[in-house]
């Protein structure tokens, strides 16, 4: 049985069919890629799966539980972590605070603990700090733990974002264009980071990418999305060289120029 199972999911924004009859099955440990031209609805699919939007039709099952109707924070706490294309870091918070924040749903103290600073809260905060530092070390950003995240170079910010999503201890990680705006070197480093995280946590990863090289390196299975519909699906090479996919991409380029 697949870990994440999406069946016949559709969504429209006031008449505009953004996603139609979308299907996905993601097994534990599998890396699936989602490619497609701008505006194809890739990020919308992420938002629908994670509960940021509610699909008009269809079902999303995760670990045997229905996700439709659950809110973003609930699906995240269940083990469905995601990153964002534009990162969405908190500008007034330090690197360490970012990582600690992702443990919110697992905090063992209650409101009274937070108000009164009970020993239980102090122990828990210390524990969370230690855990967070471990993750920061893993991503080689522990040296800047006390810095504001906005002061970090771009590549480090991406790594902090990745660590923040992983500290939730997810079973499925949804990555929205993790290499956007990176130089080729940074991109190769990011591929390594993703691969390492995948091995270490035995994650299932669902990945949106524009760069076909990243998809080729990481994904066993690829879906190509055009106008909210899956056009082709299959092995990475097959999909990328499929004439329909090439047409969709080149067609877009013609419009651009």
């Amino acid at each position: 049985m697949p870990l994440l199972h999406v069946t016949d999911m559709s969504h429209n924004f006031g008449g505009l069919q953004a996603v139609s009859e979308y299907n996905l099955s993601l097994d534990p440990g599998q890396i699936t890629g989602l490619i497609g031209p701008n505006g194809a609805g890739k990020t919308t699919i992420f938002n629908l799966i994670t509960g940021l939007y509610r699909p008009t039709k269809g079902s999303v099952r995760f670990d045997g539980e229905e996700l439709v109707g659950k809110k973003l924070n609930e699906t995240a706490a269940m083990g469905l972590a995601r990153t964002f294309q534009e990162m969405k870091l908190w500008r007034h918070m330090t690197v360490l605070e970012h990582i600690k924040m992702a443990r919110y749903s697992k905090l063992s103290y209650g409101l009274m603990g937070a108000f009164l600073g009970t020993p239980k809260r102090r122990r828990e905060e210390r524990k969370v700090t230690e855990l967070a530092m471990e993750y920061l070390k893993m991503f080689a950003v522990d040296q800047v733990a006390d810095q504001l995240v906005v002061n970090l170079p771009y590549g480090d910010q991406r790594r902090v974002e990745m660590a923040r999503a992983l500290v939730i201890e997810p079973k499925v990680l949804l990555l929205d264009e993790p290499t956007v705006g990176m130089t080729p070197d940074e991109m190769m480093a990011m591929i390594e980071v993703i691969r390492k995280a995948h091995e270490r946590f035995n994650l299932a990863i669902f990945l949106i990418e524009h760069r076909l090289q990243v998809v080729r390196e990481l994904c066993q299975h690829v879906q190509a999305l055009v106008f909210g519909q899956v056009l082709v699906e299959g092995k990475s090479d097959e999909v990328q060289n499929h004439p329909k996919v090439i047409e969709a991409y080149i067609g877009e380029q013609e419009v651009e120029f």
């Binding site: 940021l52 924070n73 969405k88 908190w90 924040m101 999503a165």
Partner: protein, 447 residues
Amino acid sequence: MDEATAPKKIGGLFYRLDQFFKPVPLLGYLLGVLVCVLWEQMAGEQLSAFLGLPKMPVLFGLLTIFKVVAGVINLLIKGDAFNWATLVHVPTALVYLTVIYLIPISLVARASVKPANALARYLQGFPLIITALVQLGLMYAVLHIWADMSDYRLITLKLTLIAVLFTLSLNIINGYMGEFSCSHPGFMAIGAYMSSLFTVGLFTSDKVLGDAVFTFSAAYLSFPLALIFGGMMAALGALIVAIPSFKTRGDYLAIISLAFLFIVKSFFENMQVLGGSRGIAGQPDWATLPVIFITMAFGIWTINNFVTSTMGKALNAVRDDETAAEAMTVNTRKTKMVAFLFGAFWAGVAGGMLAHVLRYVNPAMFSVQKLAEVLAMVYFGGLNSVYGSIVGAVSISLLGEALRPLEILKWIVIPLLLILVMIYRPTGLIAFKEFDVRQVFGPKEVD
């Protein structure tokens, strides 16, 4: 040439002052101020008589100076008679300030660096609560001696301490959570009325609320209960604002909360049971300085605990990016509700104390002007900062008092100052600074 060197000189002076006071821990300053207030108690009267001041300056000589300034302004604008001899009060008040306060505090603070740091280091070996209690006790002693010298000082100090708590409670919402709430004076009103209902209704005979239900001499021990009751009721009122405001994403809070403020005010104006627009008077005199000081310290402590915990930091995450907060498992709605109710609770407690300091309460106290005042304190001091709220509340309160002789001009000077702060420091004087209690009370290590 002069212009180029002048700022550098000032910078140099500030730098040298900074270096001079850098190794002084809080304990050192407390000792310094303690010496000042004792010195004033001993020699203040004689010195002001010697300097020809009409009476001992109550507010560091500031009030005396601005009285003279107001006299000059009235002479210029209205042509009022001005006694030129009072002009000498400006330099003499400054001399008084220097001799009584500035010189002793600098000398003692600086001279006590070594013992004060040693003592602070020694105290650090104990649990934090001991360190805090010792230094807060010292702080209280200073304030007590200072306020003991005149009734005016006592009431100004009480109102200032209440303002600190009130400002910080609003900072939770407007600063830490980053949403604009206007209903805080409303929560204060609820707290003031409800705690008055508790104390006046139960323990004193009153025209509006009838005879006392209980009469026993230790009734003042119930005052904390009255304050908690007021705070709880304010939090309950906050629930009315919070439910519709935080149901969806987006910024409805400002409008709903402003409406709430007006509703609360007209509610109390029209409740004849609660005295209508005349309000309730005759509160027992239970809001003494120690009670207010302890309540304020406890309030600051819990608020600071909350905002430094991961649970409370969720407020910052919600403010900086709500979607990201939610994606990182933060229950944003609960977070916002809790913070809003928590802020309202402490506003209610502050209101309860206010009613018992002034010993009357009426709806007119909680108008838009009160809102403007507390917003000024929050934004002047600095968002997202306990230091900021303390600095903002104290400086706006003291400034308001010091500028009182200027009458209507006061309302030009204070807003002007606010505008300047907004231009040069858009988030306030001391914004986004973490209040680490251990560090505040600890020794200053300078290498």
